[in-house]
C-alpha cells in the first residue's frame, strides 16, 4: 500500500513537473527512425487488419496510396489484406494521432519537447473539419490536402516555430481553460492564442507571398487545430511517468475503433484492452446513432493529463451532448473525475469552479473502487470509411480495462 503511494507521489511529481514546448515540424522519417516502407502507425492499442473498423481501413488504404505504396485504394486494400503492411500503435514510437491517427514516413509531424526530461512526442497536423483522413476519408481531396500539409504548411509551421525558439504550451493551455476550452472537443481558444503567437513569425519567415495567406487561412479556419498539439503535449508529459514500479497511475488511454486500451505506470508497456463503447451524443443533420463508428483515437491522452472530459467544467456547453444537457452538469463530470484522480493540477485551473485545478493522475484503484470510469469528450465518425465526422459526444472508458490493469499490477507486486 505504502509502496504504491510513494510510487504515485513520484508519478505525480513527474506529471506536474513537465515542461512541454512545441518546437518544430519534421518529416516522420526524421522523428521516428524506425519507420520504413509499408509501415503504418495507427491510433489505439495493437490491432490487425481483420479486426479494424471501416474508417481505420479507409485511412490505411488512403495513406498507402499517399505514400505511393499502392496504385489505388483497391490495390491498397488487397495489400493490406495479404499482410504487406506492418501495423503498429503510434504510442510505441513516441507518437499519437487523433481518430485513425495515421503516421507514415513522409507525414509532417509536430514536435513537442518536454524540456524538464528531454523527451519528445510527435503528432501529425490537424487536417481541419469535414472529409479528412482522420475520419477515414481517402479521396483525392483528402490526399491533396495531405500533400499540401507535407510540402507547404508543415515546413512553414516548422520555420515559424524555430524562429520563435519554440512555443511553451503549459501557460497557453491554462489560458485556454479560462476561455472555454477543454482541449478535446473545444480548442478554439488555444487555437486562436497559437495563431496570435505564431502569425508574426509566419510573416517574418515567409519567402513566398502566396504561401503566407494560405497558411494563415488554414490556421485561422480550424477551430480544432490545437487538438493535435494538445495530444502531443499529453504524450510528452506522460512518457516520463512510465515504468515507475508500483505506481497505479494511468500513463495512456487510447482506442483503435475496436479496442480501448490503457497503460499503467507500474505495469510498463502492457496494454489492458476491452471493446470500445459507443459514444452518446448529437448528430449533424442527416445522421443518427445508427451511422456512428465506435470510439476511436489517441486523443484520450488529453483526458489522461486531466483535460477533455475531466475539465468539462471549463467548457459547459459540451455537457449539452448528454441527457438533459444542463450546463451545470459539466461541473458534475469534473467532480466525478476528481473521485478517480490523485490530485488537482495547480497550474491548470477552472474559473467556474472557483479555480479548482483539473483532476490529475488517474488511479486505477480508485476507478475500480468507485465504479466511476473516465469520461471522454469525442468526435463521432461515420462507420463507413471516407464519409467523415457525423457528430460529437461523450463516451466512457470500459471498466474492464481498469479491472484487468489492477489485477496486472497486483501480480507485479505479488499481492493476491
Amino acid at each position: 500500500m505504502e509502496k504504491i503511494e510513494h510510487a504515485n507521489e513520484l508519478a505525480l511529481e513527474r506529471m506536474l513537473g513537465g515542461d512541454p514546448i512545441l518546437v518544430d515540424v519534421v518529416p516522420a522519417s526524421n522523428a521516428i527512425p524506425e519507420l520504413a516502407q509499408n509501415m503504418i502507425l495507427h491510433a489505439g492499442p495493437p490491432i490487425e487488419w481483420e479486426r479494424m473498423c471501416g474508417p481505420m481501413r479507409g485511412a490505411i488504404t488512403g495513406i498507402a496510396v499517399f505514400e505511393g505504396w499502392a496504385r489505388d485504394l483497391e490495390d491498397a486494400e488487397k495489400l493490406a489484406a495479404n499482410g504487406t503492411f506492418e501495423f503498429h500503435p503510434n504510442h510505441h514510437f513516441d507518437a499519437v494521432g487523433p481518430m485513425t491517427g495515421m503516421t507514415t514516413l513522409s507525414q509532417p509531424m509536430m514536435v513537442v519537447e518536454n524540456r524538464a526530461f528531454g523527451n519528445r512526442a510527435y503528432c501529425a497536423i490537424n487536417e481541419g473539419l469535414g472529409k479528412v483522413m482522420r475520419f477515414g476519408g481517402n479521396d483525392a481531396e483528402v490526399l491533396n490536402r495531405l500533400r499540401w500539409l507535407r510540402d507547404e504548411f508543415g515546413p512553414a509551421l516548422g520555420k515559424a516555430l524555430r524562429h520563435i525558439g519554440g512555443l511553451p504550451l503549459k501557460d497557453l493551455t491554462a489560458r485556454g481553460l479560462t476561455m472555454g476550452d477543454e482541449m478535446h472537443q473545444r480548442n478554439v481558444g488555444c487555437s486562436s492564442l497559437l495563431m496570435r503567437a505564431l502569425a508574426p513569425a509566419f510573416a517574418e519567415t515567409s519567402t513566398d507571398a502566396a504561401t503566407l495567406p494560405r497558411a494563415l487561412a488554414f490556421l485561422g479556419g480550424n477551430d480544432q487545430f490545437f487538438l493535435n498539439i494538445a495530444m502531443a503535449m499529453g504524450k510528452a508529459i506522460m512518457d516520463p511517468v512510465r515504468d515507475i514500479e508500483g505506481s497505479s497511475v494511468v500513463t495512456a488511454m487510447s482506442r483503435n475503433g475496436t479496442d480501448f486500451g490503457i497503460r499503467v505506470s507500474g505495469t510498463g508497456d502492457e496494454w489492458y484492452t476491452a471493446p470500445v463503447e459507443m459514444p452518446e451524443g448529437l448528430y449533424f443533420p442527416g445522421f443518427t446513432d445508427d451511422d456512428a463508428n465506435p470510439d476511436m483515437g489517441d486523443s484520450t491522452i488529453v483526458e489522461t493529463i486531466g483535460l477533455g472530459g475531466f475539465a468539462m467544467a471549463a467548457a459547459p456547453a459540451v455537457a449539452g451532448f448528454v441527457g438533459a444537457g444542463a450546463a451545470s452538469d459539466a461541473a458534475l463530470t469534473t467532480h466525478a473525475m476528481a473521485e478517480i484522480t490523485i490530485t488537482e493540477n495547480p497550474e491548470w485551473t477552472i474559473p467556474a469552479l472557483d479555480y479548482k485545478g483539473v483532476p490529475t493522475g488517474i488511479d486505477i484503484r480508485r476507478v475500480v473502487e468507485t465504479g466511476l470510469v473516465p469520461t471522454i469528450n469525442t468526435g463521432i465518425a461515420h462507420k463507413k470509411p471516407g464519409i467523415g465526422q457525423v457528430g460529437a459526444g461523450v463516451v466512457k472508458a470500459p471498466m474492464a480495462c481498469f479491472e484487468a490493469a489492477l489485477r496486472g499490477l497486483a501480480d507485479r507486486l505479488n499481492v493476491s
Binding site: L282, F284, A317, G320, G325, H335, A338, E339, G371, G391
Partner: protein, 497 residues
C-alpha cells in the same frame, strides 16, 4: 413533395452544441424529415447542403448568421417547425436551482467535501464492511458499522487498530446509536441530558433511552458497541473505550450499560473499570444472575428498571398491573409473542420464565427451547432474526413481515393472547401501529387478547402517543414498557390457568 424552408438570423450566436440540441428537437416534429440550426460558415453550409436543408437564403448566409433549415412533408409542417425553432431559440432559460450537487462516491471525496466530519456510518454487505471500516478509522473517523455477517476475526483486528488510533468502532451489527443528539440508523429523538448509554443491543438502547426520555431524563450519547463486543473473542474493546470516553465527558453524570451477560473474564474487567469510575452506573445484563456491584453501580434485570433506577434512583413499577387484567376468551389458553426487537423478545422470554410460563423461541435465552416451527403456539418469535431477514427487509422497516404471521396466528382457535412490540423512531416504518390495526380489522367475532408496548418518544416522526392511541382504539392493551407488557401477559396467563 418535400419542402425546404430557411430562416436566417443575422448577428445571432449560439454554441454549436446548444444548436444541435434544438435541431434534434425540431427534427422530431410532425411532418419534418430533417432539420438543423447551424452558424452559416462554409463548412456548416456544406453539411446542411449535403443534408438537403439549404435553400437560397441559406446559401447567402455568412459566418455570423444563424441558419435554420427545415425539410418537411409540406409547407404547413415546415413553417410550423420553423416557428417552433424560433420559440426554442428565444425561450427564457429555466434557472437551474444552483446546479445539482455532486454526491461523493468515495470516503476521500466525502471528507474533502466535509472536513469537519468525525463519524462514518457503514452499511454495505458484510463481506466488504471491514474493509470500508478500516478506511474510515485510518482517516480518524469514529465508525458505526450497521452491517452484520462480518467475521469475528475482522471485528477483533479492526477494534484493536481503532483502539490504537483512538477512535470508536460501534458494531458490527450495531443498529442504534445517538451521538451528540443525532440519531443514527434505528434511533429515536431524545431529550439531551446527562445520562450516557453503552449498549450491545439496538432495541435495548432504544427501549432504555425512550423510557429515560419519558421519565424526564435526557441522554448525552448512546454508544452501540455491537452484539459481539462483550464476547470472549472481542473482549469488550469498544465497551471499555466507551466507559473511558464517558469518564472524560463533563456532560455525562450517569451511565447505563446494557448487554446480555458477557463471559466471566470480560465481566470482571468491565466491572473493575466501572468500580474505578467517578460516574454512577446502572448495569443491565439481561438474564444475568445477581452479581456483587461496586459502590457506584446498581444492577437491574429489566430495561425499564435500568431507566427508572437511573432517573429516579430506584426501581418503580407502574400501577396498572392489578386492575384491568384482561381475561382470556373461553377455551383459548395459548399465547404467541411476535417481536421485531431481539432484546425485547429476550426480555419477554425471561419474564415469562420467571413467571413459570413455559415458552419456546427461535432466538432462545438460556433455558428456553426452540419451537418445531415458527407458527407454534407457546412461542416468542424474534422476526428480526436472520432466518426472517435473508433477502427481506427487517420487520421494523417493513411491517408486512409480521403481518403474515400475525394474521395466521389470529385465526388459531386455541390462541388466547398475543404479545407484541411496536418500535418507532428514525429508520422505522412510518406507521407500524397501522399495520397491527389492519390485521386486527380482518377479524370478526371472538379474538385473542393483544398486549403490546410502544418503544418511542413524542419527538419521533411517528409520535408515540399517536401510535398508542391508534392501537388502543383497535382494542390493543398498551403497557408502558416491554417489561410491563410482558408482566401483564404473564399475569393474564397465570390467572387463566
Amino acid at each position: 413533395m418535400s419542402k425546404i424552408v430557411n430562416d436566417i438570423r443575422t448577428g445571432f450566436f449560439l454554441d454549436s452544441v446548444a444548436l444541435m440540441r434544438i435541431s434534434r428537437t425540431v427534427a422530431g416534429l410532425d411532418g419534418v424529415e430533417e432539420a438543423a440550426l447551424m452558424m452559416g460558415t462554409p463548412t456548416n453550409k456544406n453539411i446542411m447542403r449535403d443534408a438537403g436543408l439549404l435553400a437560397d437564403e441559406g446559401e447567402a448566409a455568412s459566418g455570423g448568421d444563424l441558419v435554420l433549415g427545415v425539410r418537411a412533408d409540406n409547407d404547413a409542417a415546415a413553417n410550423a417547425a420553423l416557428a417552433h425553432a424560433s420559440v426554442l431559440l428565444t425561450a427564457p432559460k429555466t434557472n437551474s436551482d444552483g446546479s445539482t450537487q455532486w454526491q461523493p462516491r468515495s470516503l476521500r471525496a466525502a471528507i474533502s467535501n466535509n472536513p469537519e466530519a468525525n463519524l462514518a456510518l457503514i452499511s454495505v454487505p458484510g463481506d466488504f464492511a471491514a474493509a470500508e471500516a478500516r478506511k474510515a478509522i485510518r482517516r480518524g473517523l469514529h465508525t458505526m458499522i450497521f452491517s452484520d455477517n462480518v467475521p469475528v476475526a475482522d471485528e477483533r483486528a479492526l477494534k484493536e487498530e481503532a483502539r490504537d488510533l483512538g477512535v470508536l468502532v460501534m458494531g458490527p451489527d450495531c443498529g442504534t446509536a445517538v451521538v451528540g443528539g443525532t440519531p443514527l440508523a434505528f434511533a429515536n429523538v431524545l431529550k439531551q441530558g446527562n445520562i450516557g448509554i453503552i449498549g450491545a443491543s439496538g432495541t435495548g438502547i432504544q427501549e432504555v433511552s425512550c423510557l429515560v426520555d419519558r421519565f424526564g431524563g435526557g441522554i448525552s450519547h448512546a454508544i452501540g458497541v455491537g452484539g459481539r463486543d462483550l464476547s470472549e473473542e472481542i473482549g469488550g474493546i469498544t465497551t471499555q473505550m466507551a466507559i473511558e470516553a464517558f469518564e472524560e465527558d463533563p456532560a455525562t453524570q450517569q451511565v447505563i450499560l446494557i448487554s446480555k451477560p458477557p463471559s466471566a473474564s470480560v465481566t470482571a474487567r468491565i466491572m473493575e473499570q466501572i468500580a474505578a469510575s467517578k460516574k454512577k452506573y446502572t448495569v443491565c445484563l439481561i438474564g444475568a444472575a445477581s452479581m456483587k456491584m461496586p459502590a457506584n453501580a446498581h444492577q437491574v434485570t429489566t430495561l425499564q428498571d435500568a431507566a427508572s433506577q437511573t432517573v429516579f434512583g430506584s426501581i418503580q413499577t407502574s400501577g396498572d398491573n392489578d386492575k384491568d387484567i384482561p381475561i382470556l376468551p373461553e377455551g383459548r389458553k395459548d399465547f404467541m409473542g411476535l417481536f421485531c426487537g431481539g432484546t425485547l423478545s429476550a426480555e419477554a422470554q425471561l419474564i415469562f420464565q420467571e413467571g413459570g410460563i413455559s415458552v419456546s423461541s427461535n432466538a432462545p435465552v438460556p433455558g428456553v427451547s426452540r419451537p418445531e416451527s415458527t407458527r407454534d403456539l407457546g412461542s416468542i418469535i424474534d422476526l428480526g432474526a436472520d432466518e426472517f431477514t435473508r433477502g427481506r427487509p427487517h420487520p421494523m422497516i417493513d411491517p408486512t413481515v409480521r403481518e403474515d404471521v400475525l394474521t395466521d396466528a389470529l385465526r388459531q382457535p386455541e390462541l388466547g393472547l398475543i404479545l407484541i412490540d411496536v418500535i418507532i423512531g428514525h429508520g422505522a416504518h412510518d406507521d407500524p401501529a397501522d399495520s397491527i390495526v389492519k390485521c386486527l380489522a380482518t377479524l370478526d367475532g371472538e379474538r385473542p387478547i393483544v398486549i403490546g408496548s410502544v418503544t418511542g418518544t413524542e419527538g419521533d416522526p411517528q409520535i408515540r402517543s399517536s401510535q398508542v392511541a391508534k392501537l388502543e382504539a383497535a382494542g390493543v392493551k398498551v403497557a408502558s414498557s416491554n417489561a410491563e407488557a410482558s408482566r401483564l401477559a404473564v399475569t393474564c396467563l397465570q390467572r387463566n390457568n
